[in-house]
Structures are given as C-alpha cells and as structure tokens.
Symmetry: C2
Subunit: 337 residues, 2 copies
Amino acid sequence: MTRITLKQASEWAEQALARAGANPEMARATAQGLVMAEAQGLASHGLSRLPQYTTHLRNGRAFGGAVPTVTKRKGAALVVDAGCGLAFGACRLAVHEGMAVAREFGVCVVGVINSHHCGVVVDHLRPAAKAGFVALGLANSPAAMPAAGGLHPIFGTNPIAAVFPRRDANPLMIDLSLSEVARGKLMVAAKEGRSIPLGWALDAQGQPTTDPKAGMGGSMLPVGAASSSKGAMLALVVELLVTAVIGAQFGFEASSFFVNEGNQPRIGQAFVLIDPEALAGSASYLSRIEVLMSEMLQDPDVRLPGARRLSLERQAQEQGVEIPDALAEQIRRLANA
Amino acid sequence: MTRITLKQASEWAEQALARAGANPEMARATAQGLVMAEAQGLASHGLSRLPQYTTHLRNGRAFGGAVPTVTKRKGAALVVDAGCGLAFGACRLAVHEGMAVAREFGVCVVGVINSHHCGVVVDHLRPAAKAGFVALGLANSPAAMPAAGGLHPIFGTNPIAAVFPRRDANPLMIDLSLSEVARGKLMVAAKEGRSIPLGWALDAQGQPTTDPKAGMGGSMLPVGAASSSKGAMLALVVELLVTAVIGAQFGFEASSFFVNEGNQPRIGQAFVLIDPEALAGSASYLSRIEVLMSEMLQDPDVRLPGARRLSLERQAQEQGVEIPDALAEQIRRLANA
C-alpha cells in the first residue's frame, strides 16, 4: 500500500482529470469528491474511480467541456443540466441553488439531468446540512436490479441519502443503495471461489443463483428481496423521481459504468431540501432531534449514521490515506506527475 | 361472513363514528377511508379499525370535535394541525391544500401534526395523482421497531407511499411499511401455534426470536433486517421527517393503538407533491413513464403496483365486501342501526 496525503491525492486527481479533458471546475469538483470518499473509507467510490472517469472523458462518454447550468425554474422546482459532463460540479450547483430557493420557499426540489456517476450521494448534501437544512438525495445508475417479479435488470442500485443537522454535533448522514449488497461483494466472492447466499443476485435467465459469476452476468437483487418486494418498490420510486419526473434517462437506457465503451449515461440525481424553520421551526427541530438521539443511544450498540465515516475522514486529514500501490502508480501516470 | 354494500358500510361507519363523538366531517372522511381500504382487500386497515377508533373517540385519545386547520405556511411548506382528532380529514385537507401550492410552486411539502392513525397512506395521495401530481406520503406510528443495533422499539412501522399518474391508465400506487412483516402475521402465527422466521421480530430483551408471542411483546424488525440495517435507516429518515421536522411526536412517545387506554398519540404524516410540469414537463413525464412500464412488463410476472387493489375495489363497488359476522354485528351495534 502507498500512503498519500489528501492534498497530494487531490492534486493528482485534479491533474489526471484535466489531462483527460475536464475543464478546471469539473476537474476540481470531481477530485474533491473522490478524495472525500477515499478519506471516509469508501474506496469503491474513491480514487479507484479515477481511471474510469478519465477513460470516459477520453472516449466521449463524459464531456469534459460541460458547464452545469440551471435550465428551468418554476417556484421551488429547479432543473440543472449537467451537460453530459461528470456529475460532481452539477450536484454541487444543484444543492447550492437549492439552498437559496429552500430558504425562500421552505422547500426545494432540484433535478440534475444529463448526468453521470455522482459518487457518494450524501456528500453532496453536506453543505445543506451545514446551513441548517434537512435534505434528501436520490440517484439512479445503469441498470443493475430487476423490477418486483422481474427477470432482467432495469433499475440502478438507486441510492437514498439524507442529512439531518444537529446542534453542536455532526449531522446524521444516511446513505444506502437499494441493492441487498454492493456488486463488489460478488466480485470478491468470485475471486475467492466462494458461493453467495440466495437473495443477492439472479443469473442472466432471471433465476436465483449462488454463483457470484452468474450473478455478475445477471442482476443484483433489491434489499430484502429474499422475503419481500419492498426494496424493488422503493427502487421503482427512486427511479421515476430521478428520471421521468425531472427529464433524465432510465438506468436501462445507460451503458454500464463497468465497461469503457458505451453511451453518455444521461442518468439523473434529485435533491429535496427542507428548511425546518418553515415547518416545526428550527429551534424546535434542533431540540427535538436530540430527544430521539438520546432515546436511540439508550441501547448500547446503536451508532448514529455518519459517525464512523466522519471519524475516518478526520483521521485521513491528519494521516492521509493508504491506497494500493498499483492504483497509486496508475494515478501518478494519469496525472503525469 | 356477512356481505355488505359499500354504501351500507359507509353509512354504518359514519353513524358509529358520529355516535362516538366525531363531528360530521370527521365521521364522513374517516368512514370513507375505512371503507376504501376494505374495498381494496386491506381488511387490517378497513372496518376492523372502527371499534378502535370509536373507543379512542370515547376515551379521549382522539378528539371528536377537532377541525383540521392550516396553521403555518411559508412559501411551499405547510403545516396542518389535526387537532388531536382522527387523521383522515386532516390528511385530506393537507393534500388538497398541497395541490394548490404545488401547482403554483412546482413542489409542496405539507406536514400533519397532532395526528392519529391515518389508514392506508397511499389513498390520501389519490386526489393528487388524479390532478397530475407525483406525490409521496410518509407517516409514523406508535413505537414498533428498534433503531439499527437497538434492543427496544423506537420507530413506528413508518410507511412510505407514492403515486405516479399515467395517461389513460390507473396511477402507480406504492405503499409499504418498513417492517419486514405486518404485526398481523405474528398474531396469526401465535394463534396457530407456529414459530416465525428469524428476522421478523425481537423479544422484550432485544434478542432475535422465533416465538410469535415473544415478538409481540418485543419489537417488529425493519425490512431486510436479517442481513442489513438499511430498513432501520429508512425508518429513521421517515421518523424524523414526520416528527422533528414538522412538529409531531415520536412513535416512542405515543401509546400503542392496540390498547384502549393511553395518550393522544399526536403522531405525524407528511406529504410531498411534485408537479412534473415544473421539471420534465407533463407531456414528457407522461410519455416517459410509459417507456419504463413497457420495459418492466417485458418480464411476464411483473405486476404494476396498485393494479390488484384497484381491481378488487372495482369488484367491491359492484358486489360489496364480505366481513366477519361478528364484526358486522359489532358495527351495527356501534351505529345503533
């Protein structure tokens, strides 16, 4: 493993993205997003994505010249067009504009269209939490999961994220994909020659499988699919909110991120920002959330969501992060550093 | 079983509620909600609730004189106070007012505070779907499920509902509680002397149990809890949105609905209405949702959510519903009919 400071990682990532064609704002926002994920221990959404993103910039699946823009506004509803560039700057703009609107109207819904992989959804919500907003983030991704009763992948793993600010404490940060497990778990099982439990995946014919390789060629299953279709129903709700409702493409219309060639995914993200001042009132909200936190923490094994990743992030800010030697070498090469 | 027309059922329910102290509007809205649930085959949220509601009206857990009122509005955010009455009229008002606001601002969030059991959440969203809105409905209920890693019940079963209107077709109607199974499944297993699978419930000490009676004295588990904490995290998100954010009480502060005595639950509901016209545009939304429906229906066993209950409802409108003789007799007695 190679230890690297966050500053160094950001510089290399930014250089690599710029060399691949990203404009300066896109390169900076994306580099910061990837390094923030890495710092939180979320390696699958961290620097390991850099080769994928730079390849997409080079082969046209992401347009490096894109400048995200608010293309529509009616009252408290906004659309941000990511212009088929990388998603990070567009999500930042969406939440930034959304905060101003939610301050005025109590709530804002903002959709990001013509977008790409947005990394750790909840990270986009952090500025909103810092400013006192409760916020939700939703996204789709290339088709990975079937509909309830379905045989072939249609929906992305469709994460749901939320932040709830607290007084004198870090915000609650919730971020979960709606698949039972991440695709990475199948890859690891395949590499180690282990089988997977039923309920993780279907094979290419839509049949339940315990073979991780068959699962990788088929579908991931929604959360809790072994016993109910609730996960699939939630995936449908998220899929529609970030596509038909705002104007982005369905997961099944986007080429996989796990291959180099393919289309511009044009997938979507949506954010809902709520100002508690407009509803319960901020003072009431901030005192009442603490009542729930106290009740939850009466049970000794309860951990508040986001605490662990923020603690890892603080540690990484002091000590840097460790990444595989091969990845470090690859990033240096991409950055021409 | 006793067969009864929907008209007769509504009249008896309305009379029973009025005799127990509900004002005419509350009696009518509640009776219509219960009969609509019964007609859709959702007996657990149908006429079987009438004895509970009338008892609550009589012992003060629900205030029959309450008139739901919009008590706060800022821009596109509203608060409706249910006045500690039954919830149905308050939810109707909330969605009705929310539609006007969402038409103007593209989106509306409306919270219902000082509320009670709201029945089938998605039914409250039907008028919104009919008017072309996409809408979400959330609610809490008296504590039933633990936090992730927790030992004692804190959250309600916290349903998530959604409607998506379609052109020339019924809207998609999604409605799921975040518990792995409904409490009723434990009751049935207990009655039949069967054990329950791990992952359904914890006992009173917070330990996993296969004993349905022990589960009924402990906690229901969130969806998918056997393998992940995602269901518990979603329950936390819903709980906060319908309580601290809008000003309603937590599930753990409300007395159970399954006992007669107790406090006024003062739980909450929240609705988010979105006008697709303000985002993708209504024409685009309506044509794009059909693309997803076609893709889903390529798999022969996929059923669109809401189809089955609407078909049962149409049947019930012609043929009435069958309810247990004892319940029919009880309702007649409550209605003094």
